[in-house]
């Protein structure tokens, strides 16, 4: 399973990764620049990744985290979003109906909608799935001049992240963001400042699908249970009425007087 390791201490906010991302997705760079200035975190349908300031002088790439248990995939009612075995969470625009539940579900607030289109779709980073399949690096990783982004197998990246922290304990906080949060993510971060700006939870929370999926899988049985209960209740009432004789009218007036 592939992933990206982001080393926040190395980022200089040159935004070459964003430019490469916009170019790879055949986006309009002028609109992307506009959205950089006009949106809260720089993400929009024209800009699938952004550099945000996480602290004074510290920057981090914000884009899809490619969660191991993605909330968007669990939420999408037509299965338009999919977690591939290779790691990326990809989007099939032929299935999407535009309900935008993925945007509500994503804890990182990553999927964005093409609000300026009359036939809009959801946009999100797909970890350059086509490039990965051809053995190339994702566009952002290839473009990064500072070695902030490292692409590779997630387990190896995790090991590398930990060895980096061990080698320079003064430089990093002893925490790998994305190791456990929301059930783990394919894009992991190491940093010397807190990354709350990226919507990481304060505590190691459960993955979002764990909150809903066990429930939703129970619903058919709940429905059946309700139906069975109703049928038996109906039978009981029917039988009781039969035993009591057909004195509905008497009962009626009685209840009226209560």
């Amino acid at each position: 399973m592939y992933g990206i390791l982001v080393d926040v201490t190395r980022c200089v906010a040159c935004e070459k990764c964003v430019a490469a991302c916009v170019a790879r997705n055949k986006g309009n760079s002028q609109l992307a620049d506009r959205d950089r200035a006009t949106t809260k975190d720089g993400l929009s349908s024209h800009r699938r990744s952004a550099i945000i300031s996480v602290d004074e002088g510290r920057f981090a790439r914000k884009s899809c985290m490619h969660c191991l248990e993605p909330a968007c995939v669990s939420a999408c009612l037509v299965g338009s979003l999919k977690k591939t075995a290779d790691g990326p969470v990809i989007y099939d625009k032929d299935k999407c109906i535009g309900c935008r539940y993925c945007m509500l579900a994503c804890p990182f607030h990553v999927p964005r909608y093409e609000w300026d289109q009359t036939k809009p779709f959801v946009t999100k980073c797909d970890l350059c799935y086509d490039r990965i399949e051809q053995g190339q690096l994702p566009a952002c990783v290839e473009a990064c001049p500072e070695g902030v982004l490292k692409f590779g197998d997630r387990d190896q990246l995790m090991a590398e992240a930990k060895s980096r922290i061990k080698a320079e304990p003064n430089r990093y906080r002893d925490h790998v963001w994305g190791e456990k949060e929301f059930g783990g993510t394919s894009v992991i971060y190491i940093s010397d400042v807190d990354l709350a700006e990226l919507n990481w939870p304060d505590t190691g929370a459960d993955s979002i699908p764990e909150l809903t999926e066990p429930l939703v899988h129970k619903t058919p049985f709940i429905g059946l249970g309700v139906a069975v209960g109703l049928i038996s209740l109906n039978w009981i009432v029917k039988r009781r009425n039969k035993l009591a004789g057909d004195d509905d009218s008497a009962k009626h007036s009685e209840e009226n007087h209560e």
């Binding site: 002028q30 109906i97 009359t118 699908p209 809903t212 429930l215 619903t219 109703l230 109906n234």
Partner: protein, 651 residues
């Protein structure tokens, strides 16, 4: 057609027609251009209020069905038909709004074939779709009876109990699942409203409020059409201008201040109040169990909203249904029902929209198009309700105003021509009249914002644009742009060599150079504010004399007795208001350009040369980012020296 309902019907027609026009606008210009939905608020009025709220208020079909068919309470039998009709129309208009809300309405059928069984939304879709079909089947006997297809009607009556049980099962699933939809946002929904009990709270409140809606609509109908069946015979029968349905007055003997149907309505409202009381208990227990209490005690606007919502939904209806003086009067029951319905709608808006305000950081208010569609679908449902109930015995045999025999909906000429001459001809005239006014009005109200601003997005100035005399600058991003005389500034600072003077002042990461970097303080050497010029101008205006007339002008800007510093001076805008440019006032075709930022300016100035020299001198590191950007250094200088020492010793 009664004169009492004429006004209300005309209002409904206006709303429905403007909703239709707004729907065309939404389909034509797209979702983003016609709504205030955004990445911060992907779900807005249509989904939250129309769909989730509307469906919750239409639970009557299954709750009354449960009372009548499963518990076999005969008393509620007359309310079955209205309940089903309300459910059908409620679901219908909610789905119509939802259809316009989804980005690609032509693909609404996708979930039928494309499954994701892990998704609550998928479950909701299926349940709503199936339940809508069930309400249609439940409604069908009424139509078939009217069409005199008795065999089908009889068959449908026969399977009614099965259909009702399927309907209740589906309802119990999707009404709770509508709450579960918001379980996925533990990080974002305000903790007052986020609770693992959302499914329970949603279904209980929906059941209670849904029953209240039946009571309310039955009473409204009685108010318009068959006053006596609910409110009892009028005190003064000779009241002019208001016709009283003859059937009911003769059939019903006078029995006090209320009609024969009121006890059933009251006990229905009492059941609803029990459910809402249960909801209240759940809510309060939930507050203590899931940590909402401390959030409530913060006392911000969310706390107050929560209390208002809970009061309307549960506390007020329960109190009204407990107190004898209010539960005895039809007005008390009606107020309780209205309060519950409004409170429930508010609750859904809170959970779906207002609970996200603290996370999104911006407010969402629906556009005109959203309101028109949202109200329009409800108005259309209301019109259908009027039409069906006037032509079919929905609210009991005496409820239709025309005293025509029921069940004789002959297709041949007689009834059609009667329908034409009584209902359609009259209303067609007025509908046409309304439409003639509505269409241009809607065009005027809705068209302008979407024509130009979306066609010409703001773009950053590139090289050529920078040569222009003026740019629009909105440094603090508040939407108010200032005309910045770029050429003039450039000229004053020394032409083309002067770029760095301004563009070097902002910091990396700034999106554009704020004006306040220069125009911040009169003590600042780069400030253009000239104290002498201002005092001289004031002397001139006030015709002051003497050796030092400017000494008498201090209090014009500085508060009396305060130190004469920049902090105590007036805001420049208090006098120079005309210099401020409101949004949209600038001629946008030429000037809608943002000033280029520090990054753009520096990159444009440096990078080309660096890249050129890197090749010329064969020193590729010159074109690397870290040649200029040196964020890589660790934060604390002590760490830096230690680290660099370690590096040096290692090398």
């Amino acid at each position: 057609m009664s004169s009492r309902t004429r006004t209300i019907k005309d209002i409904l027609w206006v709303l429905a027609l403007s909703g239709l026009i707004a729907a065309v606008f939404r389909l034509w210009f797209g979702l983003g251009a016609t709504t205030n939905l955004s990445d911060a608020y992907p779900w807005g009025l249509w989904k939250i209020l129309n769909m989730i709220g509307g469906v919750a208020l239409s639970t009557s079909g299954f709750t009354v069905g449960f009372l009548v068919y499963v518990l076999r309470i005969k008393r509620f039998q007359p309310l079955m038909k209205p309940a089903i009709l309300i459910a059908f129309l409620g679901y219908g208009c909610s789905c119509a709004a939802l259809l316009l809300d989804i980005g690609l309405p032509q693909r609404f059928w996708h979930p039928i074939f494309m499954w994701n069984i892990n998704s609550f939304l998928f479950e909701v879709f299926w349940c709503v779709m199936l339940y809508f079909t069930v309400t249609a089947i439940e409604l069908a006997p009424m139509i078939f009876e009217r069409l005199r297809a008795e065999k089908i009607a009889h068959f449908l009556h026969h399977i009614a109990i099965v259909v009702v049980i399927i309907g209740i099962s589906l309802s119990s699933l999707h009404h709770s699942s509508l709450g579960s939809l918001f379980l996925v946002t533990p990080q974002r929904l305000y903790p007052l409203w986020y609770t693992p009990w959302l499914p329970w709270l949603f279904i209980i409140s929906a059941m209670g409020a849904g029953l209240m809606v039946v009571v309310l609509i039955r009473m409204l109908w009685a108010y318009w059409y068959d006053h006596d069946t609910v409110f009892g015979p009028r005190a003064n029968h000779t009241t002019p201008l208001i016709r009283i349905s003859n059937d009911s007055t003769t059939a019903v003997p006078a029995r006090g201040p209320e009609g024969p149907e009121m006890p059933a309505l009251r006990s229905l409202a009492t059941i609803a109040a029990w459910l809402l009381g249960l909801y209240l208990v759940f809510k309060v227990v939930d507050l203590f169990l899931h940590g909402g209490w401390s959030t409530l005690m913060v006392g911000n606007w969310e706390s107050w909203l929560y209390l208002i919502e809970l009061t309307l939904t549960a506390i007020l209806p329960v109190i009204l249904m407990i107190l004898p003086w209010s539960r005895r009067t039809p007005a008390g029951v009606a107020v309780a029902a209205t309060s519950a319905a409004v409170g429930l709608a508010l609750n859904r808006v809170d959970v779906g929209i207002l609970g996200y305000v603290h996370d999104a950081g911006v407010l969402y208010f629906p556009t005109l198009v959203e309101w028109m569609v949202g109200l329009g679908v409800v108005a259309a449902a209301g019109l259908v309700l009027f039409f069906l109930a006037e032509n079919m015995p929905v609210f009991g045999p005496g409820s239709t105003e025309t005293s025509s025999p029921v069940g004789k909906f002959k297709l041949p000429n007689g009834s059609l021509s009667r329908l034409w001459s009584t209902t359609l001809a009259d209303s067609l005239h007025r509908v046409t009249l309304i439409a003639v006014f509505i269409i241009p009005l809607a065009y005027v109200l809705m068209y302008p914002p979407y024509g130009e601003t979306w066609a010409q997005p703001i773009r950053p100035a590139d090289g050529l644009d920078a040569e222009r005399a003026t740019l629009c600058i909105d440094g603090n991003k508040d939407g108010v742009e200032t005309i910045f005389a770029h050429a003039e500034h450039q000229h004053r600072f020394g032409d083309s060599a002067s770029c760095v003077k301004c563009h070097h002042l902002s910091m990396p990461g700034d999106h554009s150079t704020p004006c306040s970097r220069c125009h911040c303080s009169m003590n600042d050497p780069t400030n253009i504010f000239s104290h002498d010029v201002h005092t001289a101008a004031l002397v001139k205006v006030k015709h002051l004399g003497g050796l030092h007339p400017e000494n008498f002008t201090c209090q014009d800007c500085h508060a009396p007795g305060s130190p004469r510093t920049a902090a105590t001076a007036k805001n420049c805008m208090e006098c120079h208001r005309e210099n401020m440019v409101p949004p949209g006032a600038v001629e946008q075709s030429n000037n809608l350009l943002m000033a280029c930022s520090y990054r753009e300016a520096m990159h444009g100035t440096c990078i080309k040369c660096h890249q050129h020299e890197a090749i010329q001198l064969d020193q590729p590191h010159l074109s690397d980012c870290q040649t200029c950007h040196q964020t890589l250094r660790p934060r604390e200088t002590t760490v830096q020296t230690l680290a660099s020492q370690a590096d040096r010793t290692a090398n």
